[in-house]
Structure formats: C-alpha cells, structure tokens
Amino acid sequence: MRKITMREAIIEGLHEEMERDDQKVLFGEDVGKFGGINAITRGLYERFGGERVFDTPIAESTIVGAALGMAITGLRPIPELQFGDFVGIAFDEVFNKLGKWRYMHGGTMEVPVTLRAPIGMAGGAGPEHSQSPQALFMHAPGVHIAIPSTPYDAKGLLKTAIRDNNAVLFFEHKLLYDTKGEVPEAEDEYLIPLGQADVKREGSDVTIIATALQVQTSLQAAEKLANEGIDVEVIDPRTLAPLDKETLLSSVQKTGRVLIVHEESKTGGSGAEIAAQISEEALFDLEAPVKRIGSPDVPIAQSLHLEPYYRPSEKQITDAVHELLEY
C-alpha cells in the first residue's frame, strides 16, 4: 500500500468529503488562500471557492457558535481552531452548545459539526499553544472525541466524523502531521466507525492504552521490551467518546496489567476515566495497580530544552512496564 503522511491523509479526507455535497463548509483563521497554518486545508479554497472555504476573523467563540448555527440550518460545517488550546476561548460553545443544543431543545435538531483542532507539544510553542485538551470533553454529554494516531486512522475517522450527524471534536497531534503510514488509494474508500479501539500491537503481558503521539512512543517502547521477552499489547482507543470499553477490558482480562499513556497532564486526564472504568469493571482481573503516565501537572514550559521533561518518553514507559511486571 502507498505510504502518505497524516497531513496528506487529512487533506485527502477533507477534499473527498467536501466533494460529496455542497452542504460542507470549512472555515477558520487562514484556512482559505493560505491553506492553513499547518497546511491542512491546502487546495480547498481553490477547488471549492471562497463561500464554502473561508477565512474568519480571529474570534474563536464566534467560529464555533456560527458552526452550530449553520449545522441546525442544513449545513455541515467543518471549522478549524488554529490551536487546540483555543477550545478554552470557545469552551461554552463546544462543551455546552455543540453537545447539548439538540438534546436540550427536545431532540429534533441535528448538529453535524466536525471541529478540527491541532494539539500537543511540538517545539517550543509554550503553555498556551501546546496543550492536549481532549480529556475535558469526556465530561461533555453530547460530543464525540476522535484522536487519531496514524494517517490511516486520521483519514478514516475524519470522513466518518464529517458524515456523522453529531458534533465530533477531531484532535490532531501536530507532531504526527509529518509521520507516514499506509493508506489505501483514494479510490478505495474506507470509513472507521467511532467507538472502535484498535489493537496496534498484540501482546499478552501488559496492556498499554495510549492516544495520539503516545501510541507511537508506546509501540517503540514495546519493540524494546520485546527484545527483553516482554510481550506488550498496545491499544489505541481512537475515540475517547464513545469509548470502546469492551476492547480495553478484554485486553485487561488477558494481561492483568495496565499502563495508560497520554500527553495531557496526568491529573484529570483521559487516563483518569479509563482507570476508573477498569477499577470499576475489571478489578479482579488486575494483578497490578493501574498505572498512568501523563505530562506533569504544571503549565508547559516554552523552552525546547525542557519540553522533553513533559512529553511521556519511551523510557518512562519501559520503566512503568517493568514495575507492573514486578507484581
């Protein structure tokens, strides 16, 4: 199969879905002629014109609020936040409006919004341009959360998200944009359902549950551990909501040892909910405590020199696996 980058995979997904019908409309800061600051919307303005692909003022809550207003009147908006951190300035729109508008107004309207947002530490962008805010929205009734780790997943999930009649928050880790992976040819269309975890590596000793960039780090750690004869299973939930509990729990049943790895800060991260579910539903399968690795509970320093102390590392993972195996 051909190998393309996650950036290319997302661009393809956007082009294909924009092509399918005229209701799709894409907007955000610098997404038009400029093609997006991460070059993810490249070519769309030229192909679909300035009414369907347009630059907005710098006004994030208006961007997300307007997306809702479009969605309930027949469009299928695909807004972009320039940085995922900016969910904070459109928080009410994301948390309370996208997720609840349908339900709280009785359940007749549909909110087919796909909100794209790049996340993660990616080289000295500092405390307000490096965060991974996805966990907050696990507490938000009514929104789906997609967080791909490979080009294949990114394209398949994005297309599903855009076709879904509910709000999907689509978080893209910036350091993954340039990573390559196998993706079917454009003519071989595929979709990945929301709520289906993917076992990225089978194993029988320890289960690692990881998201986004940390899936890659975990797979590298798993290779290292394999050399030592430790057989690690790596699972990527791919969507945090819906969360594919079954796949996670059945792996725990098999291995009895769980490590959760994510880039958002540890306390209150997505690992908290996942660990809680495991301790609620699979306690007696566990042979060791549920371990979590997240970034430290402090704002992210801007210095490149310090960034590695935040980003969960291969070494942290192998150490944690070793610890788990001591039980």
């Binding site: 006004a59 997300v64 309930i72 309207m109």
Partner: protein, 334 residues
C-alpha cells in the same frame, strides 16, 4: 449616532384585519403570560419565569407581518413573546413549563429557554444569554450560502448586549453582509442593574453597531406599528442582500426580573408611568378606537376568543402525561 426611528404612519395603509391581528397577538401573549403566572402560583410550573408583560408590542410588531415560518428566530429569555408571535402552538409552550410530553421538548421541560420549533424557524435559545449572537450569524451565513432569502432575527435584552460575543457577531454580520436583524429589547434593566450603570455608550446601545458600519436605530418598542415598520425595512434590506440591521427597541418590564422579585429597585413612579401611559396593548386599542377602526365589543370578542384558546391550550398541555425516567436517555445523539 443611532437615529431615533420615526415614521408618520397612516392607519389606512393597514387593513383592518391586520390591525386586529396585531391586537389579538398582543393579547394572546399577555394572557398566555398571566395564565402561566397563575399556574405557577398553583405550583404546577418547573423553574423560574421572566414575565414578558409590557413588551408585547415589540415582538408582535417585529414578527407577525414580517417573518415567515422559514425565517430563523432566536428568542430572548423574557416571556414567550417572540415564540408566540412566530406561531409556536400555545399548548406546546405550556407543555414545556408543565413538563408534559406536549411540550416542544417532549417532557424534558424548557421553561422559557430551550423550547424550539424548527417548523416555524424557532431555533432555540442559549441559557447563557448573548451566546445566540454567535449562533445566529451561522444561521444567517447558511441562508446566504444556500440562497434561500431567509432572514435571521435575534432578540436579546440590554443586559445581554454587554456580553462579549456581540463583537464577534456584529463583525461577522457586517463582514459577510449577512441577512440578520439584531433586536435589542432595551427594558432598561438587567435584573437589578439599570442599563446606564452597566453600559458605556455614546448615547444609545445601538451606537455600538455604528462602528461596524451596520444600519442601526432606536425605536419605541411599545408602538406595535412602528416596530412593524422598522423591522419591515430591515427585513427588506436583508432580502435585498444589503446586510444586517441593529434595532434598539425601548420598553419596560411591568413585573420584576423573575416571578417573586420584589422589583423595588426601580423608581415606582416610572414603573407606574410605563404601565399606565405606555402599555402597548392599551395604547393600541385606544388608537383603533379613536380612529373608529374598531368598537369596544370587537375587542371583547377577541379577548374572549383568546381566553378560550388559552384555556384549551392549557387543558391540552395539562392533560398530556409527564414522561418517565427513560425520557432523559432519549435524543442525545442523532
């Protein structure tokens, strides 16, 4: 500076039917409200209520002859004035207060906020007042992109106008030249705060729209005909593709912010003046009487018909069941 909208209105330009419709709709709103308060006192209503009595003219004038079912409307949190004027069935609104499945929310309950009737373009409201500013420009963009000539109207109070999203909204509206009408129901108070104690304006709230190059004006919101005229111009402008309009309509609350509010923070003389001399229904009725368009018993008949309609709506809403627990698990996702 925002101009005060004036127009020398010729009653002859209106058919008697239309004039009576204005009267009927205003009375319907008031009686809806009075009956709702009665139901509250009977302990049947969930949540709080912000009475819309005193500003019926604003909603009826702006909506009844100007907006079609397909036009989009975001109402505010004061009374059900705009929803009723836009034609949402009364039984459904009562159902939303009584929590029965007759309500637009099929039993979730809605109070004022959160009822919707998409068949009449009523797209709901945000519990965080002023958040509609963002949402409304989206609907207006939608209409423009889809070439539908639908107009979006968003209602909000003087207080809500101070929310930050107004800026983002006016900027979008002007920039994309959207078919949207902002109607600020300036009843001078936001809960206990008088608008001039919380707003910095050149002279009017509508002046805020001026800087964006958006058409704007101030109007007597209690004059149903003036409201009709000023909104008609705005609707026509929007349909001609000439973009947004901001209308600041002056009115006053006859009752407190919520039922139970002591309402002692307003000047009682001022309140009395608004009630006695500036009641939109009373004044409109007198206008029609003075101009010999109607006689007293025509009004009586309308009043009785409305009473009847309301009692039937309440009966329908009340006789409908409340949902069981399962209801809360329905409808989160499409």
């Amino acid at each position: 500076m925002a101009e005060v909208y004036q127009k020398d209105i010729q009653l002859d330009d209106y058919s008697k039917e239309d004039l009576v419709t204005f009267y009927r709709e205003m009375v319907k709103i008031r009686k809806f409200d009075e009956n709702l308060i009665r139901l509250m006192h009977e302990g049947k209503v969930s949540g709080f209520y912000h009475s819309g009595i005193g500003s019926e003219g604003l909603s009826v004038g702006s909506i009844v002859k100007n907006l079609r079912d397909e036009d989009y409307l975001y109402y505010n949190h004061r009374g059900c004035n705009q929803k009723i004027a836009k034609g949402v069935p009364l039984s459904k609104l009562y159902g939303d207060f009584l929590g029965t499945v007759e309500g637009t929310t099929r039993g979730l309950g809605a109070g004022i906020v959160h009822s919707a009737d998409t068949s009449r373009g009523v797209l709901g409201q945000a519990g965080t007042i002023g958040s509609q500013f963002n949402i409304a420009v989206g609907s207006a963009y939608s209409a423009k992109l889809q070439n539908t000539n639908r107009v979006t109207v968003v209602y909000f109070g003087d207080g809500a106008a101070s929310r930050e999203p107004l800026h983002g909204s006016l900027n979008w509206a002007g920039l994309y030249n959207l078919p949207i009408i902002y109607i600020c129901e300036n009843n001078e108070y936001a809960i206990s705060s008088r608008w001039d104690e919380t707003h910095s304006v050149r002279e009017h709230i509508a002046d805020w729209a001026w800087g964006y190059g958006i058409s704007n004006c101030v109007v007597d919101g209690n004059d149903v005909l003036l409201m009709n005229e000023v909104t008609k111009e705005a609707v026509d402008r929007a349909k001609r593709g000439e973009g947004p309009t901001f209308i600041e309509a002056k009115t006053f609350r006859h009752r407190g912010h919520f039922e139970g509010d002591t309402y002692d923070y307003v000047d009682q003389e001022e309140l009395k003046d608004w009630k006695e001399n500036r009641d939109p229904i009373k004044n409109f009725k007198n206008l029609l009487l003075e101009n010999n368009i109607c006689v007293e018993n025509e009004f009586t008949r309308v009043d009785e018909e409305v009473d009847q309609e309301i009692l039937e709506a309440i009966a329908k809403a009340e006789s409908s069941p409340m949902p069981d627990e399962k209801r809360i698990y329905e409808g989160l996702f499409a």
